[in-house]
Amino acid sequence: MGKVIENIIKKRWISLYVENEIGVLAKISGLFSGKSYNMDSLTVGETEDETISRMTISVTSDESTFEQIKKQLNRCVEVIKVVDFTDIPIHMKEILFVKINSLKDSEKEEVFSISKIYGLAVIDCDRSTLLLECVQTESKNNAIIKLFQNSFPNRIEVVKGGSVAIEAISVADR
C-alpha cells in the first residue's frame, strides 16, 4: 500500500467558526500550545450572528501535522466548523500600524511618497512623527515593514493585527 503523503512545510490557513463564549479563545490557543503546534497568527471577532465568532488562524506546517490540527480543532465541543483555506481562493488582509519617529522634513516627504506607492494612509502626525495605517496582505505588510526598517532604523514602532480571511467570490487575493 502506498503511504506517500504531502509533507511539504508551507503556510496554511484555517477559518474557524466557534461559540462566542468566555474561554473559547483560550481553549483554541491552549490546544496549539499543548500539542506543540506552531501558530503564526490568530485573529478572532464576532460574526453576523453574535453567538458565533470566527477565527482566522495561520500556521506553517507539513500536511500531516496540519491534518492533525484540523482534527484536533474539530474535536473541541465549542468549535462549530473548521474550514481549510489552503489552496482555495480567499481574500486575506491584516491591519498594520507603523509609527515613525524623529523624522526630518525631508524624511517626511519620503514617507509620503512611499505611502502613496503602497496605498498607506497617514492617519496621525505631529512635527516629527507620522502614524501610518495599512490594510494589506500579510506578505505585503511584511515587505512594507522591511522597507521602513531599512529607511528609518530604530525609529519605527509596528503593530500588526493578525490576518482575517474570507472565501473569494471571483477574485483571489493572498
Binding site: M1, G23, G30, S64, K71, E78
Partner: protein
C-alpha cells in the same frame, strides 16, 4: 415552577439515572450537600481524598459502562481531581465532575478557595464549563452528561458558582440535546468498510490489533465472532485485553514494550494490520518507523484525530467499534489464513510467557492462583510492574473485567478504582493488584472501603521498590538505583537511597528494623490473620523478627489499623489459604501483602527506541 439551583441539580441527577455520587463536601458546595441530604435513591459516597474520589468514580464508570459522577468543592477540592481527570481522559472514561466555585461576583478576585478549574483542566478533559447564569444550569448539566458518554467518552467538568446553586429559576430539565459543534459519528462509511475488506481478502498474514475502544463500545462479543469468521490471529493492547477471551485459540497476547514474543513478532511480520480502537501509543509501537512496516493498515476509531496521528493509515474508518464491527460482519468472509494463524500460535507455544529466572512466590504464580480461584472477577491494577504482570498473566473472558490506568499510568489508581468497581458491581468479586508504592499513594481509601463494608481483595506485591523504574535502572542505567528503594533507612543509604548498587533488602536493613521495632508487636506469618497470632520482637535476633515487616509500612498492621483484615504471604504455599480467606470475607476489605522477589523483572521488554521484534526475552 421556580426552584433553587441545588434542587435542580438533584433533579438533574435523577433524570440522568445517577444513583451513586462520589462527593466530598466543602464551603462552596455545602448547599448542594444540603439538598442531597434528603435525596433518596442517590447514594453519596464519601472517600477520604478527592483524588481517591475521582478514581473511584472512574472505576465505577469503567466497570459498569455508566457515567461516573463527582462532586467536590472549589479550590483544593477541584485541583485534587486533576490527576483523575487526566487519567479518565486518556482512557476515555465518561465522568461528569461538578466543582463548586466562589460566587460569580467574586470570580477573578482571588477569593478564598477560588481557582480557575476550567482553565486548569481545559487541556485534560473532553469539555469544561463554568455555569454563569442560572437559566443555563439545566442545559449545561444535560449537555455534560451527553458529551461525557457519547462519541469517544471522556471527563467533563462543570463548575458551579455558589450563587448559581442558590439562585431560583425554572425547574425544567431538557429531554434532548443539540450542540451545534458536537455531532459524534454514529454511522459507518460502507465504502471504507468494503475497501478494508478488499485489502483483507488479499492478505496472507493478517492480524487484528484490538485496543480499549472495543471494550468501551461493549463490542467484545461481536469482535470475537469476527475473529472466528476470518480466522485471523488476535493481538490486544493492555486496554483491549478481554475483548476476546484470553483462552481463545485465536488470542495471541499483548503487544508492546511488555508484549509477548508472538504478538510483537506477528505485528512485525504481518501484511495487513486490522486495528480497532487503539491510538498506537508509543508504549505499543516501539520504534515507530519499524512498526508493522510490511503491513497495510486498516484503522477503525471513533476519534478521527486518533487516525494517522502516530501511524499512517491506509484505510481509515471513523466509527464506533461496535457499529463498525457489526457492519463488517455482514460483509466479511472466512480467510485462507489458517497456516499463518497456526504459525503465530506456534511462536506463542515456543515462547510462552513465564518467569523462568525466579523461583518461589512469583507474581506469575500469584496471578495464576487468582485465575484458578475465581470464575467471575473484576481485577483492578495499580501502575508499575504489578500492572504489567497482571496484564500478562491474567485470564479474562469478558470486557470490563480489567480496569487499569493505561494511558496516563497513574500510581494510586488501584485501591480507589476498586472501591468504585465494587459499588457498581456488588455481586462480583473485585480484586486489586498493586505494588507497595502505588498502594501507599491512596492508602487512605482503606477507610472508605471499610466504612462502606466492601469485601475488596487487595493484593499488594511488595518488593520494596518502585519496581518498574528500578528495572529500567538495572537494565539501562548500569544498576544505579537512584531513589527507587522504598525500604532503605537513612543511616544505611548512600546517594540514591538504596545505598549500594542492586541493594535489595539486606541484612543490615532487617537488623535495623528489628532495632527500631524493639518491644513492639510483630506480625506472625504462621497466622493467616496476624491479629490472632502476634509475637514479640527482640532487637538482636534476626530469627525473632522473621515475619515482621521488612519494609515500611507494615501493610498488615496498616490494614488492621483501618479495621480491615491484613494477611502477609511469604511463600507460594500460603497463597491459596490467603485467597480463600479473602474470598470468604463478606463485608470487610482484605489486604494480602505478598512479599515478592525485590528484583524480579518484567519480560519480555522492548528497550526504548528499538523495534518490537528486538525485545529482550529474559
Amino acid at each position: 415552577m421556580e426552584i433553587r439551583g441545588t434542587e435542580l441539580f438533584v433533579k438533574a441527577l435523577r433524570e440522568e439515572g445517577v444513583n451513586t455520587l462520589f462527593a466530598y463536601p466543602g464551603g462552596q458546595v455545602i448547599d448542594l450537600f444540603d439538598a442531597l441530604y434528603d435525596a433518596e435513591g442517590i447514594e453519596v459516597i464519601l472517600p477520604r481524598h478527592e483524588q481517591g474520589l475521582i478514581h473511584a468514580a472512574d472505576g465505577y464508570a469503567r466497570s459498569t459502562g455508566k457515567v461516573g459522577v463527582c462532586l467536590v468543592t472549589s479550590g483544593p477540592g477541584a485541583t485534587n481531581l486533576v490527576t483523575g481527570i487526566a487519567t479518565a481522559n486518556y482512557d476515555s472514561v465518561p465522568l461528569v465532575c461538578f466543582t463548586g466555585q466562589v460566587p460569580t461576583h467574586l470570580i477573578g478576585n482571588d477569593a478564598f478557595q477560588e481557582v480557575d478549574i476550567v482553565g486548569i483542566t481545559r487541556n485534560i478533559c473532553k469539555h469544561a464549563i463554568t455555569v454563569r447564569d442560572r437559566k443555563d444550569l439545566a442545559k449545561v448539566i444535560k449537555e455534560a452528561f451527553f458529551i461525557a458518554k457519547s462519541g469517544k467518552p471522556g471527563p467533563v467538568v462543570v463548575d458551579l458558582p455558589k450563587d448559581i446553586q442558590q439562585a431560583m429559576g425554572s425547574d425544567d430539565y431538557p429531554k434532548e440535546v443539540s450542540i451545534r459543534g458536537y455531532k459524534p459519528s454514529t454511522g459507518v462509511h460502507i465504502g471504507q468498510v468494503r475497501r478494508a475488506l478488499s485489502i483483507l481478502n488479499q492478505a496472507k498474514k493478517p492480524v487484528f490489533l484490538v485496543g480499549g475502544g472495543v471494550n468501551i463500545a461493549g463490542a467484545g462479543e461481536e469482535f470475537t465472532k469476527l475473529a472466528e469468521l476470518t480466522g485471523m490471529p488476535v493481538i490486544t493492547t493492555i486496554m483491549g485485553k478481554g475483548a476476546i477471551p484470553t483462552n481463545h485459540p485465536l488470542y495471541i497476547g499483548n503487544i508492546g514494550i511488555h508484549g509477548n514474543y508472538a504478538a510483537n513478532r506477528a505485528i512485525s511480520e504481518c501484511d495487513v494490520l486490522f486495528s480497532i480502537g487503539t491510538r498506537f501509543n508509543d508504549r505499543i509501537t516501539g520504534k515507530i518507523t519499524e512498526f508493522a512496516k510490511l503491513a497495510a493498515i486498516i484503522h477503525i476509531d471513533i476519534d478521527a484525530a486518533s487516525i494517522s496521528r502516530n501511524i499512517q493509515v491506509d484505510v481509515p474508518i471513523v466509527a464506533d467499534a461496535k457499529t463498525a464491527i457489526i457492519k463488517i460482519l455482514e460483509e466479511a468472509k472466512g480467510l485462507p489464513v489458517s497456516e499463518w494463524t497456526k504459525e503465530v500460535r506456534g511462536w506463542k507455544e515456543e515462547n510462552p510467557l513465564g518467569m523462568k529466572k525466579y523461583e518461589g512466590m512469583t507474581p506469575e504464580i500469584i496471578i495464576n492462583k487468582i485465575n484458578e480461584k475465581f470464575d467471575d472477577l473484576i481485577v483492578v491494577t495499580d501502575v508499575g510492574q504489578n500492572q504489567m504482570w497482571t496484564t500478562q498473566y491474567l485470564e479474562l473472558d469478558h470486557s470490563r473485567k480489567l480496569l487499569t490506568s493505561g494511558g496516563l499510568g497513574t500510581m494510586g489508581y488501584g485501591l480507589p478504582a476498586a472501591i468504585g468497581a465494587k459499588l457498581g458491581n456488588p455481586d462480583i468479586p473485585v480484586l486489586c493488584i498493586s505494588g507497595d508504592g502505588g498502594m501507599q499513594m491512596n492508602i487512605q481509601e482503606m477507610a472508605t472501603a471499610v466504612c462502606l463494608e466492601l469485601p475488596l481483595i487487595l493484593c499488594v506485591f511488595n518488593n520494596s521498590y518502585l519496581g518498574n523504574v528500578r528495572q529500567w535502572q538495572e537494565m539501562f542505567y548500569g544498576g544505579r538505583y537512584a531513589f527507587t528503594s522504598l525500604a532503605t533507612r537513612r543511616s544505611h543509604a548512600g546517594r540514591g537511597g538504596a545505598g549500594t548498587e542492586n541493594a535489595g533488602i539486606e541484612n543490615a536493613d532487617i537488623e535495623n528494623v528489628g532495632i527500631e521495632n524493639e518491644g513492639i508487636e510483630c506480625a506472625d506469618t504462621n497466622s493467616a490473620r496476624t491479629s490472632g497470632g502476634s509475637s514479640s520482637c527482640t532487637s538482636d535476633s534476626k530469627e525473632a523478627i522473621k515475619g515482621s515487616p521488612k519494609y515500611s509500612p507494615d501493610f498488615v498492621k496498616l490494614a488492621e489499623s483501618y479495621d480491615a483484615i491484613g494477611i502477609r504471604v511469604e511463600t507460594a504455599e500460603e497463597i491459596d489459604e490467603a485467597l480463600d480467606i479473602a474470598s470468604k470475607s463478606k463485608n470487610t476489605p482484605v489486604l494480602i501483602e505478598f512479599i515478592i522477589e525485590p528484583e524480579a523483572n518484567v519480560y519480555p521488554i522492548v528497550p526504548t527506541g528499538k523495534p518490537l521484534n528486538e525485545m529482550v526475552i529474559d
